[in-house]
């Protein structure tokens, strides 16, 4: 039952993180400047998430297959390809490379 408790505690803590922003925001009026900084903060966080989830497996570099797929997707997105193509091409590139035994 320790595992059930642990899941619930993690869920509660995560929910706390999620709820804090909307609740505080309803109370405090942020200056336009700070508001803008918040928007930038999210882009920075998501960009860092792209980098770490695209390149790393824990503390090590993941094989080249995944970053190659992400790069193909990014290139297509930059060329304004349809979203579906971006996602499918990224996955297909990585899958194809792995089929060729690229890690």
């Amino acid at each position: 039952m320790r595992l059930a408790m642990a899941s619930v505690v993690l869920g509660a803590g995560t929910y706390g993180f999620r709820l804090a922003g909307p609740l505080l925001k309803a109370r405090v009026r942020l200056s336009p400047r700070l508001e803008r900084l918040m928007g930038t903060a999210v882009v920075v966080l998501l960009a860092a998430l792209v980098a770490t989830s695209g390149l790393m497996d824990g503390h090590h570099f993941t094989g080249p297959a995944r970053p190659a797929g992400v790069a193909v997707g990014a290139l297509l997105a930059w060329r304004r390809a349809p979203f579906a193509l971006v996602v499918v091409a990224a996955a297909a590139t990585t899958a194809g490379l792995r089929l060729l035994a690229v890690p």
Partner: protein, 269 residues
């Protein structure tokens, strides 16, 4: 809800969200299968997906307890990974709407993809629909996927073979690109990425992403002294009144407005 989607929303948005839901459902299948494969009880991945609803933290959690690590360490690691939802909430909190029920329910749907889809919309109504549509869709898809994976996932095998691990970053890139057209935002993101990648080999998961917020120092600097060369490069795309450099001397407020990364956005597809 369905008719609202059809009339108000670009069908493209619904289609894009549906695609991400399918991809996440497959990742959910692998999560369920891996958890059970590690010898963890069937109900654990199902319960976690309902109450935690955050893929990266869940994988980390089962990785730690599956290898015999302590649940306390697994919770701590998961919380560290999920701390980024705090700044997420500050940025997109207002799309949940007012009222307790909306805030309480909507907060639980806050995941990376929801936030990214919301961020990519330019108009308040579309932002709201993107948030709720993506959030509810992903919650259903993720939990159904995990359920399927926990009960019969061994049939699916290793989903890495499908390259799904490349789909998640690619989704985020596609949704972030419009925001990155803003020079200040782009510089902050580049600095943040550099910090995260330098930190990633050494620090626990989640911490590098949080440290990336240090990249905001670049944005603040940019906000104080708008770098002119950068702006000129950008002006081809943002054909606003910024063409005339003399205008934005005394107009800091409007100017700030224009450069809000969440505002100056062309409709995404």
């Amino acid at each position: 809800m369905r008719s609202i989607w059809r009339t108000l929303v670009n069908p493209g948005l619904a289609r894009d969200i549906a695609l991400v839901c399918v991809a996440d459902a497959l990742v959910g299948v692998s999560f369920g299968a891996i958890a059970v494969g590690l010898g963890l009880p069937l109900w654990l991945p199902v319960l976690m997906s309902l109450v935690v609803f955050a893929g990266a933290a869940q994988f980390l959690f089962i990785g730690i307890v599956g290898a015999g690590g302590s649940p306390v360490a697994a919770v701590a690691a998961g919380l560290l990974v999920n701390a980024r939802h705090l700044p997420f909430g500050f940025a997109v909190g207002d799309v949940l709407g007012t009222g307790w029920l909306r805030r309480l329910a909507g907060s639980h749907l806050m995941v990376d993809e929801t936030v990214a889809f919301t961020l990519a919309q330019d108009e308040p109504r579309r932002r709201r629909l993107a948030y709720w549509g993506c959030g509810a869709g992903l919650f259903a898809a993720w939990n159904l996927g995990v359920l399927a994976g926990a009960f019969g996932g061994r049939a699916v095998g290793n989903t890495d073979a499908f390259g799904l691990d490349a789909a998640f970053p690619a989704v985020l890139v596609a949704l972030l690109l419009p925001s990155l057209r803003d020079v200040t935002t782009r510089k902050a993101a580049a600095a943040g990425v550099a910090v995260a990648l330098i930190a990633a080999p050494w620090l626990p998961a989640g911490v590098p992403v949080l440290l990336a917020l240090g990249g905001l120092a670049v944005a603040r600097h940019g906000g104080d002294a708008r770098q002119e060369p950068g702006r000129q490069r950008d002006s081809g795309q943002s054909r606003h009144r910024d063409q005339d450099p003399s205008r934005h001397r005394g107009e800091d407020r409007n100017h700030d407005h224009d450069h809000g990364p969440t505002r100056k956005r062309e409709a995404t597809r």
